[in-house]
Amino acid sequence: MSQRVTIDPVTRIEGHLRVDVEVDGGKVRKAWASGQMWRGVENILVGRDPRDAWAITQRICGVCTTVHAIASVRAVENALQLELPINAQYIRNMIILAHAVHDHIVHFYHLSALDWVDVTSALRADPGKAASLAESLSTWSGNSKAEFTKVKDRLSGFVGTGQLGIFTNGYWGHPAMKLPPEINLIAAAHYLQALEVQRHANKIVSILGSKTPHIQNVAVGGVANALAVDAQSVLSVERLLAVKTWIDQLADFVKNVYLIDVAVVGGSYPEWTAIGRGFVDYLSVPDIPLDGKNTRFALPGGHIANGDLASFKEIKSHADAYFRDGVAESVKHSWYQGGKGPLHPHQGETRPQYTDFQDDGKYSWLKSPTFYDKPMQVGPLSRVLAMVAAQHQPTIDYATRALDLVSTVAKTKVGLDALHSTIGRHAARAIVCAVAVDQLATQWDLLLANMAKGDLKTFNKPTFPQGEIAGFGVHEAPRGVLSHWIVIADGKIKNYQCVVPTTWNAAPRNEKDAPGAYEACLVGTPVANPEQPLEVLRTVHSFDPCIACAVHVVDHETRPVVRVDPA
């Protein structure tokens, strides 16, 4: 007999996501992803000054504040066809990259590693053996026997108090937990070190963004940072040198700890390279612009059909009609008034119509986006595949390094195809993080070189025409393709829609009843114990869900997190 497992809410994510799976014969046969919060930020923006939209949209979410600010100003600039001073691009790029590095480190160590790492098992580890293993894999200075002994003692003390605190939601001792105690100890030590390292990325965002959380420096037309070679009160070379120090420390951790840990975990769970594949249609957009018009980029992006890299079609600019004309959203299975079929975001509507959870009807506050009528996977995996297809050498190098280590640990050859999986999405995130931290250093060099030429310009003033104009802003955010769509009439916002990464991935079934990415990837996932559906969480967490911006709060009552019913 099949069983229905309801996980509500999915924990260790931002926002409120419900996942239902039908389990039969120890495997997921059918899945539903349901955003449990209503998104209506679009309705707040109508009638406002387009120059204020970024400050409002960055309040949508507590995790991705900066990405909404960036997508929003890009949408308005696209509508105005406004070119930016190159310094503004470099400063925005550094904020984007530092934020992404922060986000990826925190996601792996603090939000999803506990799906794979059993902290209580680390208490049985031999710190000496752990140190020999870790030192054989990496030059990182925090891998000594003394360090691991210290961490083990600290964990013993913490677990001994009976209050697991931050680790409360782990499934300790679950049969799907397979890492040896030494690797668990190494991961736990790096969990703590990551807490120290992540602050460097956050400092970069706060220095450049003038405030954190919630950056204050972006503006339609550029950035509000005043650049100077010597003055103290502005973004000076002295402050930029401090930023460079933090970039170097981040690079050391990302390349010598994060990338290696992901490969070791991946190689220790080789069966997970065959789980969570789902559909293999991928979408990403180019980012880190190298000119004022968003036509040349450091990191390419585009569309890959059916997992075939040869099918790669590049998106060439942030005004590319191929992207603009391909996006539509269906509300057939979403709690909004519909009946008009999938709508392009410029025509998008956000009028709630709550029913109940209907398996074959409406069951989510998320809309269902498609690219030329097909659902897409977005996120680091989409980006890695696109960049490999575009022959982006740094991506190829880091992917090769990660997969070689996975192969060594797994004692079998693991190739690029293994990335189409639950554990592969984690590997892809580590690969893009390594690419991002190098690019962060490159953007720093470019900014300094341009300032040295005497160019300190950071802002081009926008002017709004009478009549109606429309634009869209795209950004390859940590979780994937983010797009903001704006219609401006006589200088005021007439329509505004955000199509966010988690909407692509956590989408309900679309107009043709085809499942969204989570739903497709969950099918076939093994479930050893329906009362403790750790495996389902592994696949969902591999996407790094962030539901807050996909939807908004309506209800948070105290309920049991997992419910198992006969289907």
């Binding site: 931002e14 926002g15 707040i44 507590g62 602050r199 956050n202 709060v553």
Partner: protein, 164 residues
Amino acid sequence: MRVVVLGAGNILLGDEGLGVRAIERLPLAYCLPACIELIDAGTCGMEMLEELEDLDALIVVDAIRAQREPGTLIRLVGEQVPVFFRTKLSPHQIGLCDVLATLELLARAPRYTAILGLQPQSLALGLELTPVVEAAMPELLRMIVGELGALGVHPAPREAARVT
């Protein structure tokens, strides 16, 4: 002495943002000594870790769902603080809750934590507070100042400051 007064909440959701609004208004109404840091946390999480390390006191200002009349002042201290996070009286506790749990793990948690706030009336979409919550905001500011006073910090009201 290091004290943080942290405004939590989503300003897009009406009364949900009352904590952030309180932080915006506090320095307009009172002269705050340098040992007090105000943080507009919104709904953020780990970005705040460093700011909240090794504090003498943390005062979180937030919308608190406690089944009371809208606009009622609520103060949670001591054993009620972990309960506040566990029972999800606030819809955006995930980030802040994780930060405080992490600070415990690092043995850098605030030595004293208080949660001050109001029972919200409406969490519907909008940038404005409801009139009943708006009317209670001056009282909430006085409550924050009272809490600071108990810690030995005495902010002066702005008018009085100008007279002296």
